[in-house]
Amino acid sequence: MKKILSGPMDAIKADLATEINSPDRYKLLRRKIVSLMALVTLLPLLSLAAINYYEHQSSMSAEIQAPLRALVGKAKHSFELFLAERTSAVSFIASAYSFDELSNDANLQRIFQVMRREFTGFVDLGLIDTAGNQVSYAGPYDLKDRNYTSQDWFHQVQFKGTYISDVFLGFRKFPHVVIAVRHTTESGQSWILRATLDTIHFDRIISAMGLEPGSDAFLVNRNGVLQTESRRYGKVLDMLPFSLPPTNFESNVQGIRDRDQNEIFIASAFIADSDFVLVAVKLKPTFFSTWYTVRLDLLVIFVTGVIFIFIAVYRLTSVLINRLQESDEQRLGAIHQMEHSQKLSSIGRLAAGVAHEINNPLAIINEKAGLMRDIMDLRPDFPNKDKFSRQIESILKSVDRCRGITHRMLSFAKRMDVKIEILDLNAVLVETLGFLEREAQYRNIELKRELSMNLPNIATDHGQIQQVFLNILNNALAAVPDGGRIVLSSWNVDDDYVAISIEDNGCGMSDETANNMFEPFFTTKKEKGTGLGMSITYGIVKRLGGEIKVKSKLNEGTTMTILMPKHPVEG
């Protein structure tokens, strides 16, 4: 089995291995897997059904054959009985009367009348002497004084004692059979009594068989000449259009094909003491009628099974292929993302380099223009002062614009580079707070620390996490009024995270603002902000594997909570 399957399996494996990015790939693969799975599952079912069918077929045949055999057997006995009775009757008359008695036409006529009364079917009766001359005759034809020495039957009856002829058409064009019996007295005198039978009784026996429509039964002689009319194969004395299978005295059934290539069961048997063969024919039932009439249930089970298997196979394969496609896409996505971030990081480095290079000349332009303005301002009588003043303003504005550009470039670049060290977040927070304590004291803002004493050190980027704290604290300071309050807390969340929260009782935010606050270029500070601070903060926290949450209510205050992983996160 493994060997048989290894061919298609290898083909599928090869398909899986090839990196064709065509959408047909999955279609092709799906088709192949479905075919293979269907083949593997349907093959046993199919062979089971086939075996079942053929077994059924053969038992069906037996079922058909047995009655046919019995029927032929019975009818054969009827024929034999019929012929034996007639033969005995003729034989009896031949031996019961003397030659002289029989040779008298009146006597013979009387005997014939009695015989006809007792036994149906007799047409005539005649006495023939050993020289073959018709001595006397009772019947409808004028056969008196005929000589039969030249005829074959005469020699046969002389030789065998009794003779039953094949069917022949008599003068009246009716099918007839001749029965002839030779009688020899003790004194050695012998004569032949010859009687003619019509074959109406043959037809009666055949019709008494009670054949189904489409079936057929008839007598033929051993040369294949029809002795009674056949429903399918012709009239009396026609040649049977196919040769008989080997026949003997036991009724025997065989399956053959007839002239029209119909598959038939043919039952045949010799009839004793004659040349006749009784034949019965029954058409073999066709495929579908067998199925339909007898084993519809099997067919239903088979078809349902096939359908279910197909559905199951198809579904299963679809799931499989979809998974495959998904994971392929994910892999591709990851590769793209990696390429993308690599690209970003090199763009970032370039941007940082450019920004730093530009910063110094920008600072010089700024100071030079500033100095020009200072000098002009000192001299009220400076010629064209207004015009120069406008030019200088324009230069300074442009410097500001450049500053904005480099700032954005640098913030972008900064997001690209991370340096991990083991840190005490409390210490970093306190240190960052130090930068702002001056402003807080100026504005009489209370800075309350509720820091966990047993916060574990975590591995993260010092500069970046400090930038996060600084950005949030700056926002908190901007939000609180003079005399306001900022609470800094830290705590252990679970095995994986620590949390830092910065809570202020400042102006708070509307839901809309809170929802948008991490969007780049979203700002409420109008001219003062770039709208990048919180977006950068968010980006940093995410990159360090943390989470940042905001809870805010307008006019009541804002709480920013940062969850940081205790262990560094890859990516």
């Binding site: 730093h356 010089i364 700024n366 100071e367 700032h407 960052t432």
Partner: protein, 130 residues
């Protein structure tokens, strides 16, 4: 603000920038000294201890942070205002950890510089230096 009594030292290797800055400060009554590298800065401090040093972080040779550490170790009272390039917040924060008074980014806002120098020289009542 008795700016003309302030003793200020400006340190930056970008000559055009720092000289122009000095000139603008002079126009506002401040008389700073100007040097262009770390060694000269340390020499100038040794000659005459300034109240405030405005120090560029990025310089060839001795870096700003090194100058800061040396000055702070000998003269803890001297306030140092660092000048960093934009996007070099990390340098600024690093400087703060080593005792800088503040950090400002280039290009400078002159008024902000003067205000910061003033805060360094005249701290508000009761507020200790970080």
């Amino acid at each position: 603000m008795d700016k003309n009594t302030w003793n200020i030292l400006l340190v930056d290797d970008e000559v055009d920038f720092i000289v122009t800055l000095a000139e603008r400060l002079e126009l506002r009554g401040v008389n700073p000294r100007v040097v262009h590298d770390g060694e000269s800065a340390l020499k100038a401090v040794a000659d005459n201890v300034p109240q405030v040093i405005v120090l560029d972080v990025m310089m060839p040779g001795m870096k700003g942070i090194e100058v800061l550490q040396k000055v702070k170790s000998e003269h803890p009272d001297v306030q140092v205002i660092l000048l960093t390039g934009q996007g070099k917040t990390r340098d600024g924060i690093e400087g703060m950890r080593h005792g800088a008074f503040a950090y400002l980014t280039k290009p400078l806002d002159l008024e902000e510089l003067i205000r910061t120098i003033n805060e360094a020289i005249n701290p508000p009542e009761g507020i200790p230096h970080v």
